[in-house]
Structure formats: structure tokens, C-alpha cells
Amino acid sequence: MIKYILRRVLLLIPVLIGVSFIVFSMMHFAPGDPARTMLGETATQDQIDQLRDELGLNDPFLIQYGRYITNVVVNQDLGRSYVSKRPVANEILTRYPNTLKLAGLGIGLAMLIGIPVGIISATKQYSWLDNITMFFALVGVSMPVFWQGILLILLFSVTLRWLPSSGFDTWQQMIMPAFALGTGSMAVIARMTRSSMLEVYRQDYIRTARSKGLGEWLVINRHALRNALIPVVTVIGLQFGFLLGGAVLTESIFSINGVGRLMVESIQRRDMMIVQGGVLVFAFTFSVINLGVDILYAFLDPRIRAQYK
């Protein structure tokens, strides 16, 4: 098991280098010159050339990438922003906790509501309760984050004045963003839990448990749920990755100072250093979570654990 984890951790290195190379080339070959973007329409060709030179943009692609990756690996330095000249690591690290907190709260809320709803739906399949919750789950999946965010703000901030519409310091400020971000995952988790539960329900051991005379609650809790949750865990892991992406929109709407918003702004400004750094951090986070899910899997499912013995 330890060996397995170690191997997975080491695999992160080529993954991250690969990701950085892909992003670097995409940003390099996509139209959009950072110098021209920063200088705007009043710039003369001389000024553009001067700034390109200062930023080292006139060097060949491989030299630029080589310089970047050497600096990252050897000096653990992500470079400085083209625009603000601040160290990229600082820019990202000050915002990273907000993004993680947002995604974490989103997924937490999604699990807290999604799993019970899925269980209830499955146990009362085709009842009115099932129909209603699955209807809302469908709405939840279909509703874009930015639209839902605006609706929440209109209701709770503008009309009722219960919650502040921006910022991310107090729990009042966190509710709406977490909810807006989590709704989609909540719905996915609820639907996954429901279908997984229904499948388990049809298994022989459930019939055995019932025929032993166990109460329905015990059957659900001890026999059905434990097995039904295994695929749900995978979905939750994947959803967390999606939430990191969804955080980009949520952060913009609720003016949360997170990595996602920083990335969007930096892409618009062609601030490649920040985009690079941000992608690396996202790729790292996603890989670590994936790894976590795989390990959790082994703990939940004795069959998988057995493979590593």
C-alpha cells in the first residue's frame, strides 16, 4: 500500500511538467502578445519592442520554456507577474486558501444534502418525494453557477438584505457562494447515490438481510449504504475537480479574491507567468485529490485493498 502511494506521488512530477509544457505552448502560440495587451492602443512599435525585450519575449519558445522550468525546478521560483511585477507564488498563495475553502464548502454542502436526498429518493422510489427531489436535482444540474449566483444575490442581499453580496471572510459571506457552487454537485451526488442505492437494493444480500428480519433502517445503513457509497466517492472526487473550475465563475460573481478569478484576469491580460503558476497549482490540487480518492477507495472496498497486499 505504501509503495503504491509512493509511486503515485512520484508520478505527479512528470504530470506537472507535462501540464506546464502544454500550457506554456498554448499560451505561447495562441494569438495575443502580452506586451501589446499591456501597452494598449496608444503604443508605438518601438515601445512594444522595448517591453517585449524587457519581458524576454523575443527569445525562441524553447529557451523561454527552458528558462521558466529551470527556475521552477532549481530555485522553486514561479517567477514574477508581467503586469504587477509581484512574485507569482505570493499572488497565488494569498488567494489559494479562499479557493480551497470555497470548493471545500461547496462539496461539503453538496454531500450534506446530496447523499441524504439520494438515499430518501431510492428508498421511496417513484413516490412523490422521489419525483420532487429528482426534479430539483435536474434543475440543479442544469442551472449555471453565474445565473444562480445572481438570483441568490437578488433575493438574499438586495430584497431581503440578510446576506452580504461579496467578500469571503465571515460565514454569512460564505453561504451563498458555497451554495451556488455546490448546487450542481449536490444534484449529481443525489442522482448518483439514488441509482447506486437502487442497484444495491436488488442484490441478494439485501434480500437476505431483510429476510433475517432486520429493520429497514439497519438494512439501509449497514448493508446497502456502505456498498452504494463506493461509486459515490469517485463522483465526489471528480466533482471536487469541477468545483475548482466552477470557482472561477463563483469568485467573479461574489468578488471573492481567489485563484480562479486571478487566472481569468491574467488570461485576459496575457500575464503568462500567473496563468502558468495557477495551472500548476490547480493540476497539483486535482492530482492530490484524485490520489486521495483512490486511497480512500482502498479503505472502503476490501476487494481493492486485497490487490495491494
Binding site: 494598449g40 496608444t42 522595448q50 511585477k85 444575490i153 496575457r270
Partner: protein, 509 residues
Amino acid sequence: MKKKLLLLVSLLLAFTLALSGCAPKQDDTPAKDKLIVGMGADAASLDPHATNDQPSSRVARQIYDTLIVQTESLELLPGLAVSWEQVDDLTFEFKLKEGVKFHNGEVLTANDVVFTLKRALQSAFIGHIVGAIDPEGIVAVDANTVRISTKQPFAPLLTHLAHPATAILNEKAVNEGGEDYGQKPVGTGPFKFVEWVSGDSITLERNDDYHGTAPALKTVVFRILTDNTTRTIELETGGVDIAYDIQPNDVSRVESDPNLTLLRDANLATTYIGFNVEKEPFDDVRVRQAINLAIDMEAVVNLVYRGVGAPAKGPLGPNVFGANLDLEAYNKDIEAAKALLAEAGFPDGFTTTLWTNENQQRMDIAEIVQDQLAEVGIVVTIEIVEWTKYLADTAAGEHDMFILGWTTVTADADYGLYALFHSSAKGTAGNRTFYGNDEVDRLLDLGRTTADQNARLAAYREAQEIIRDDAPWIFTWTGENLAGTHKSVRGFVQHPAGHHRLATVSFGE
């Protein structure tokens, strides 16, 4: 099972009820001296030479002073320079105010001015503001006297020295700050820099040693609220006292709120659709005039900008020095347009392309123009081009028609006309229509070099008349600055260039 569900529901209810008791508290202490401003983007750098973006100027303006102050009514008043006189055709001499201290305690001297301007000339960002100055011509005569010469006679120099990009820096502070100077600026202005939480807020506090009238406010916080709707909502809910750049579709919301005031003032921005006058069929002035006659600009203003701003009659906005307000607008006249097209050899119109970058308002304008030109048989294909490719390709003259904006940041006609219509500025320098007219060149040169303001005015009036008739542009729109404030905010006046001064702001009842 039912019990658990009941528990869950009651918990949820309790949660909701708890929320209603915890609404954010409104600050209603009587002696309020902290102003919170909502701004749409973070500053890039507070080193005036390291950027030329509006959010940075909006903050830097409070921290630094310029030699000359351009007021909200665009008058030039003494700033760090108490007086100035023209020594010869090329040179101005400035007397500095004495006893002015930087925020780090250093005393302002002529050396700081020399250092600042020489440094500014090295910057790739602000060449359009300081480019006329001769690097060898910046001289400290004594501790409080500076001479600044230009390479050629340059009448609008004083307005350029009032631009925030030429704010005076302290040599010692810049050297100490090194690469991080833009994050810890030191000026002589009414507010001192305190803290910058990147992407979130910038905090300033009153400079108690300010050499002018000290501000009533103790603290100014710029909050970065990138989403336009959120910014308006924060204004409504009391999260900010002033919100910059209210969007046209939020105008009625702010206007109808009894606690808020909407400020609307003409700014220095104009939007235009340029022709490539070196390319057929736009090399024929009749075609260009016909297109101007085929378009109803009221529709553009009403549909795209929801009534904000005004249709442009000429190349300059109304409050630019030298703007000719008597120009006759091209009003929509389909018959006249058709007649001109027929005369030019296009009785059935032609096919062409219109470029825009990915800017919603410009894309909307493009569609309206496409629709209206169809009436005279001109079939327009709209192409949306990535911004930097757009700038590069229009500078290279690869376009037929394109939409772009221009802000005359110095509020002087020279800045609004020379780069756009002088034949020496074709291409990257700003003249993307490749327009050239000897008489216009002569008038723009005259306006740039003569010190006599009346002669300048006359030259610019005439140049605008010729440009209007030559029609290298479809004159489209002139803009407005929109800001929303709380009713309790006093003394806030928008600057047409957008970098509003906050030293005069206070709170009332």
C-alpha cells in the same frame, strides 16, 4: 427515519432563522471618515511609470501630486509647481512649492522632478504622455526651479504635465523600493499608501503633513469588485460608498433608489468606426460620406448604450479643449447616401467587412451598422478579431472597416487629433485609417507648436471641419462617466478623464 428527517428540517429552519438575525450591520456612526470606493479592476502597479491603466491612475492620483493640476472643469492650476513661464519656444521654467514633504519625510527638490521625468522617458508605458520632452532638456536650475524643454515646440506640454503619469516621485524611495516600488509607493499627495491586498482592496490614509488642504477623510479603501452587477448591488446594500463605472443597464436602478445619487458627466472618450482610406472603395470620399449618411447614430446610442453618452458629430468629445461644437452632424438620409454611392460608381452597393474585437458594445454596434448599411445595398460581414491581433492588423492596414475607441486623456485637441489624423502617425502610432490631408497636417502642426491659445483653437476648429467632410471615420459615440454614490457622500466630483480626486470628499447627513 421520520424522526431524523424532522430533525433535519427543523435544523434547516433554525439555520434560516438564525441568518435573519445576523444581517450585516450598517455603520451609522455620525463622524464617518472612512470612504469605501468600488472599482471594477485591481490596479496593476502604483508606480506611475510601470503601467498606463485606469484603475492604477485612480489610486495613484490620491497618493501623488503632479506639477500642474487639471481640475474637474479642465482648468490648469498650480500643483507642485507654484508658477511657470515660457522661457523660449522650447522651454518652460517651473518654480516648485517650498516645504513639500514626501510620505517618507524627504523634502521635494528640483532633483526629484528631474529624476522623475528622466525615469518616465525610459518607460514603455507612458511614451504617449512624455514623448515630446527632450531628455537633455530636463534641468534643475536651483533647488526649487526646474526647466523642461521639448524636442520641438509643444504647446500642450502643460496639460501633459498635469497627467497622473507625470506625477513626481522621490528618488530615494524609488531606489529603495527597487523592483517592489510599485507595491509601496511614496508620493506627496493627500493620502498615504497603507496596504494592498492584491485582487481585493487598496487602503490609503490621510497625509497629515499634506502641503495643500488636508482631506476630511481619514481612510480611503478601494475595493476591487470585478462584476458590474455586484458592484451596483454593493452600492445599494451599503458595502461601498461610491461605485465607479455604473453600467448603462443599471442606470435606472441607481436613479430610482432614494438613498443613492447617480452622477453622469461627459467624459473624454469617443468610439468610432474607421475606414481604410487607402483601400477601395473607401479611398473615395463620397463612399465614406454615404456610409455616414446611411447610419442613424441615435439608434446606436439608445440600443447599445441605453441612452448613455451622445452621438458623435466629429472626432472629439464635447469637453476637450479645441472641440468644435458647431460641426454639422451627418443625419440619416438614405436618398442622399444612395445618390453619393451611385455617383461613386456603386449604385447597387458593395460587399465589405467590419472588424471588431470581442467587446459586447462594439459587437452590438457592428450589428446595427450591418443592418443599416443593408438599406443602401452595402453587404457587411462582421469579423470578431482577438484584441492584440486586432491592434496589430489594423495598424498594418489589413482591414476594410474597424471599430475602436480613443480617450483624449489630456483633454487637449492635440492628443485627440494628432495621433489619429496626422499623416505622420499612420499605422501603429494611432492613425489606423491611414488618412492624410496636407491642410489637416498643417493645422495640426500649427496647433501643436503655437503658444497662442486662440490661434490653436482656430486651427483645431478648421481641422475638425475638414476631417468631418473627409469622413475617415463613421463618427459614432461620445461617452459619459457614470458613478453612483450614497446620498451622504459630499464633495465628490468626477474628473472627465476618470481619475477622480477624493481629497475633497466628506460625509454629510
